[in-house]
Symmetry: C3
Amino acid sequence: MVNTRPAKTNSGRFFEDYSVGDVIAHAVPRTVSGGERALYHALYPARHALYSSDEFARRSGLPKSPLDDLAAFHVVFGKTVPDVSLNAVANLGYAEGRWLKPVYEGDTLRSESEVIGVKQNSNGKSGVVYVRTRGLNQRDETVMEYVRWVMVRKGNLDAPVPETVIPELQKVIPADQLVIPEGLDFSSYDFAASGESHRWGDYEIGETIDHVDGVTVEEAEHMMATRLWQNTAKVHFDTTARPDGTRLIYGGHVISMARALSFNGLANAQIIVGLNGGAHANPCLAGTTIRAWSEVLDKAETTAPGVGAIRLRLVATSGGAPFELKGEDGKYRPEVLLDLDYWALMPL
Amino acid sequence: MVNTRPAKTNSGRFFEDYSVGDVIAHAVPRTVSGGERALYHALYPARHALYSSDEFARRSGLPKSPLDDLAAFHVVFGKTVPDVSLNAVANLGYAEGRWLKPVYEGDTLRSESEVIGVKQNSNGKSGVVYVRTRGLNQRDETVMEYVRWVMVRKGNLDAPVPETVIPELQKVIPADQLVIPEGLDFSSYDFAASGESHRWGDYEIGETIDHVDGVTVEEAEHMMATRLWQNTAKVHFDTTARPDGTRLIYGGHVISMARALSFNGLANAQIIVGLNGGAHANPCLAGTTIRAWSEVLDKAETTAPGVGAIRLRLVATSGGAPFELKGEDGKYRPEVLLDLDYWALMPL
Amino acid sequence: MVNTRPAKTNSGRFFEDYSVGDVIAHAVPRTVSGGERALYHALYPARHALYSSDEFARRSGLPKSPLDDLAAFHVVFGKTVPDVSLNAVANLGYAEGRWLKPVYEGDTLRSESEVIGVKQNSNGKSGVVYVRTRGLNQRDETVMEYVRWVMVRKGNLDAPVPETVIPELQKVIPADQLVIPEGLDFSSYDFAASGESHRWGDYEIGETIDHVDGVTVEEAEHMMATRLWQNTAKVHFDTTARPDGTRLIYGGHVISMARALSFNGLANAQIIVGLNGGAHANPCLAGTTIRAWSEVLDKAETTAPGVGAIRLRLVATSGGAPFELKGEDGKYRPEVLLDLDYWALMPL
């Protein structure tokens, strides 16, 4: 056997391979079906009625039940992994995430990312890359977008230091920039069908909610979820990829688990429309019992009939008391897995 | 952070919260698709041809292959958990279960339960609640119904003792009250496609069948199944919910596993139309190898062409010899997990 | 309880139950949907664009994205297990496998096998049975076919020794006998969407590719996969079926895992059209980290626009260095799980 050709496998991009202004078209478009919805419900205790029932969605002005917002996010995100985070040292943050169009069964999603910032670290061995990722459907409509920044290793330590560009990012998306799905109308919202009677007016800024339930996660589940989104990062699947033989759970799995758990207390926070920020505070491994709590950060009116916006902090933990986020040192407590800041739509 | 509002999470109903005549509309309707069918086949070794093949279903007079009867049951049942069994001490029994309409891809199911009986226990700390649950589709047609009784804790021990009402329940549904799916016709039944040649006339009352096969169950599987049916009972998911750190497998998972195993010997008992009774005799945990045996309890003719009814006892075990049900003390043997009494339809 | 009837469960066929010329119609037809596709993507890191995106498939001249070729194979294969391999001692080989028609959502598959060879072993206790299996859709079109031979126990050691018939099988399917899906056209192939730029002309005979990635497999995953294909072989599910309490992973699970891993380096080997041969070199158990490497064995032109054929060896391993297949004794090395020889279609 001879092997005279260069390796054909993807070794990923290194820090010096990103230039501000580059647009990367990510590979492997994906058509979604009822199968993705059923699997989403099997993998997470997802119960938000709009994503469970075509009838509930129609009563809310949509043609039918869309793919869960976070499932759409995972599909879009998963495609970026081979180009953005294969050599990433850390996933540093998210900002300016907006859902722009619901995704329906039969839609085909693809992703593209524009490099909007680079900053080499002072150690010369790595740098931070900022990308704005868009998910597009088969009609070239953008269904969602978000900014993400990651720390990436340099492949060639002698590569020149690029000019530092740090994008100006909104700390919080102003409510008037949130995009409400076309036709959405909560004026005849069915509170019996949704599972809770609490409406937008029943939540006040600063209020905290312990979502009470917990789910102990298994290897098979997080790997199935992560593969479903065609996320190929080795650390999620291969026990030989990390020195301690553990498989790191995809951060998005924790996001979806926490969001699903938040049904209990936030059943009417139906639709996620904005992602202001997020931190995967500590790694999560199989065997962890994931719990969640939320804090109401803000509220805003919208122009859609019967629809209010609520800004929530969603915190996933591996235990401990709820409502504890950071220690005296200002760092996340060890049991905090996720600190997510998002906008959702609720019935008034 | 302040928390001045009352808790928004569902703490479930207590014994004193049920009054005879109350009708509870359960939350979170669910639209089913081919995804649920594929997952049902991935989670259980389900092979009954009518639920596997559109062609087989059409040859049997149905428009296409319906959702498995037990999957429909699980969807309907799952919705009742937050209202009926969140504070349940024990699931005591089932009766008068009837499947009334097949459920097809695209149907949206919801559930409602009428309280038909209450009886406070002599200890004053709990009581038995009887509910008749109905599953309805998007046309408000009842697709199935069953009675279930559970023991529920009192939340307020000082709550007044309600008048005892114990519903009169049929021990066995008379065959002429079974509802045959409209159009069902087994007169050109394909015994090669179904997998076995045994027809209704080949089974005799008292006959027992060892289904031979076994499946060792895993945590990831029973949790995925239970979530798929949006059943939220903590004990199935959260290792911190029970003192011994184990997760109790949803009784319905055992029912579906045993029914699927019963294909081997009862491949032609295609459609479940009646649930006469059932007991979850012992808890089931991951690692258990589930086996099953059946006993023919009764047979009846029907008005549909080529269709006979057979009443079966389906017993799931964790091992031991088949056909052993109870010990000398009249109690279920420790290896018996399930004792189910149901009516199915077979080709004559 | 009495049991006067003969056992109704399937005890499988023994060597003496096969006669050359017999055609066995396998039971339980199966209609596939988007659910099977979603599950295939959840169970394997499958990313070949033609099976992921309707848009990509349409650009390639197909009406929409078909069911993954290997998923079609598993459905067809699974149906044969109760009739062919329930009493099999070993799965000895495959040959002359050809995919003849893509399978689409809504298609119903069934299988039939013709016995094309028998040879009793000299020990008189078992023999080799050769079958040619066909998968047919609801229009009675053959969607795929393959030859498989297994060693099967004799049930009655006194059964007469049949005349030995060993079919003449092609070592390799000639490229001009491969069937290209009707309408397939890679002349406007989208290399950005497919994930790699390497085209047919970029691969040379003898070239080897290390697919780099690995997946550590779990019990829940391989059981879900194997059940999804309605494969009932006990050894995959029942820890009491083998003396050491392990569950043997279905060989097809290893095939699909290795094929999915081969995306990294062979992303454009889109469609499998021929199976020349295959050996499950060593058993695979949960906990194994499956890796894969490929070798280009041959190349051929086709008559379809822009489409070339490539013959590949796909080797799955449980570790060790890539490109090592057999030891000095000519036997497969202990870490080799699978040695598969197949034809795929690539863009020129």
